[in-house]
Symmetry: C2
Subunit: 441 residues, 2 copies
Amino acid sequence: MALNDTHRVELSSWVESAQTPGSDFPIQNLPFGVFKRTGRIESPRVGAAIGDQIVDVSACLDEGLLAPDAHTAAERCRFSQLNELMALGPEPISALRRALSELLRGDSAAYRRDPGIARRVLVPMYEAELRLPATIGDYTDFYASIDHARNVGSMFRPNDPLLPNYKYVPIGYHGRASSIVLTGTQVRRPAGQIRDDPEQPPAVAPSRRLDYELELGIFVGTPNALGSPVPIIDADRHIFGCCLVNDWSARDIQSWEYQPLGPFLSKSFATTISPWVVTLEALEPFRAPAYVRPDDDPAPLPYLLWDADQRRGGLDIRLEVHLRTATMRQRSQDPVRVSRSRFTSMYWTIAQLLAHHTSNGCNLRSGDLLASGTISGAEPDSRGSLIERTWRGRDPLHLPNGETRTFLVDGDEVIMRAYCERPGFARIGFGDCRGMIVPAL
Amino acid sequence: MALNDTHRVELSSWVESAQTPGSDFPIQNLPFGVFKRTGRIESPRVGAAIGDQIVDVSACLDEGLLAPDAHTAAERCRFSQLNELMALGPEPISALRRALSELLRGDSAAYRRDPGIARRVLVPMYEAELRLPATIGDYTDFYASIDHARNVGSMFRPNDPLLPNYKYVPIGYHGRASSIVLTGTQVRRPAGQIRDDPEQPPAVAPSRRLDYELELGIFVGTPNALGSPVPIIDADRHIFGCCLVNDWSARDIQSWEYQPLGPFLSKSFATTISPWVVTLEALEPFRAPAYVRPDDDPAPLPYLLWDADQRRGGLDIRLEVHLRTATMRQRSQDPVRVSRSRFTSMYWTIAQLLAHHTSNGCNLRSGDLLASGTISGAEPDSRGSLIERTWRGRDPLHLPNGETRTFLVDGDEVIMRAYCERPGFARIGFGDCRGMIVPAL
């Protein structure tokens, strides 16, 4: 993929809010999502975010505002999920982004001719309900941050923090698709078997070690057939775009259940995703080198190694976790940032994750979600989960209002944010991924 | 659930093949599946198997042959998957089975009036293509055979064969839904990272330890909402029925990748299921006591313990694995039975699996598939996988034609079968679950 006109920093839009400094959705972004207008009887459909507005792609098509080469992709925006659009592959989607960019830029001929189109093709976000962007057939969760693997490994297996396979295998496991929920959905504290005392039998209780995990989600675009691995040189072409993922985790349930087959009920009670899918094309200016392995690390095996991926397979996304407690809400205090990190710290690129996933012939379908695994860096404040941030509860977080946290308390709201910034390019944001904990049943 | 008229052993059908001794599909069974007629342009739809025929439920409805209380369920048979029927719950489905039983029995008034209905509502199986019975949203694989857990555990962890959680937690993990295929689909030998020598780096190669796993599949009927656990006393009401599952496994890939997050690519290349879903109602005469735990085993925790489930939560299903090698096919030799077992040996009941799965609030959707995990008993010939049957390859199987097997060879076909038998009741069969290994790419 290469830079094109949609990336130009000089572009501005006649949608004024797209120019607000710090906006997640300038005209260079145009992430896709699914919306309907609140209170209307109408089908959800695909839109693109710009500023504080949603561009209704179907309305643009009906108004004859899109260039012909964008029609194939625009027609797929009449569905109530992104799967059909995702399946088209990069070129038609790029044509749609280009057409939307032309329509929305300040010097748009269509807008100059008829400024009334604004009313007909834009829906203010505050008048819209968002839906899950895709029907997620399968959800896979990876473990691609070596700092995270080392941190958690040293807690669960002090003698064996990083297992011998880590530097060879992009470790992943199947997650639960049914319980993936959209940002803003309340998350009920799960109950489960917990064994605090290894000399005693387990007891069933609400989790006392409820945690978040900051992850990047990767939506599959073009599918691959069962039995047909995707070579790493083609992997990016099978990726539609990215969102944020909060892989909520009940650590006390996890530590008791996870052997020998991996996490199950400690994760499957809820996974929250952000609503807007930022296309890989919009992220193109923020491509970065893959993780630079120390000299004594093995090189990736040939099926995971491609020179261009090593040079530009990384993504320089900056991520943050914010926390707002019930007390902070009562006092109208802003959320507090509890960590920040960069996706460049990941040991595996997203192309490596996808190539590995299909290397046994496993078929990925459009709309399948791969998550990166918790994103943690080397610094304590870059750790993407509370278990790491508080070192299993040993070092509580001290919040500015005097509260402390080891794990999440009922009423806590976790807000994840991400954005890309680079001189000479517009800031590209992801929109919030939020969830509040409500008490166990 | 109680016994009713559809279970009576005296019932016979005017469909003659339903009376063939050893038939899997007597009138007492009536399992549901999805079919279309070969070579016709028509939508797949739901049918019920009887003898060597398929009853086209939509055609029965159109002909006015079904009692009114069966119409709700029969209308759901117009879909091209069972999900909508499954969602109805036990009573409407029971009404449909009763109506089909009345229509098909020897003394059927409708058939006596007009024997021509046979031609209009039956489709011979040899003229039909079967489809996956349901759109499987999520697939979960359990580990409910204690003999299997002990056998495999002693190979992977000689010092720790049965982990401390086993007798408390119905261990399970999320499987891959996209690669579930129907019986008869060829299975390509997967390639992956294999590390034979712990002193050397892994290499990518076709699996040399390709295995099958004999499992029972459990299809979810009535869904539960996210955040709402299903109590064990209601669990059976959320189960639609059962099929056979072959959880193909690449043992060499598995042993290298599975820590710490569980099996992934070693399983996700293919999972084969049988096409007919035997309803829980048809299995009612074969209910059996739950596993009798030795005195020093802990009792199930309260959320997994219900007196009626302990008394009748088991299922006395007899299962067999047959193998047919390429040589046997060339010589027109019949498949050879390599193991047989009984589902009564399982440590957890299907109600316990479902109650546990939802105990954290995880939502199960209609058509979701839970698999039991490999079904192994205490005897060597009851072990449901080759890794157990040959003790990791140490004790090869000697086939009657002089061939030997440790793991599967290209061209091997694995055929799983299951049936229930009990004096005073008709034999209920599951139909074959078959798959043949084809060479790696």
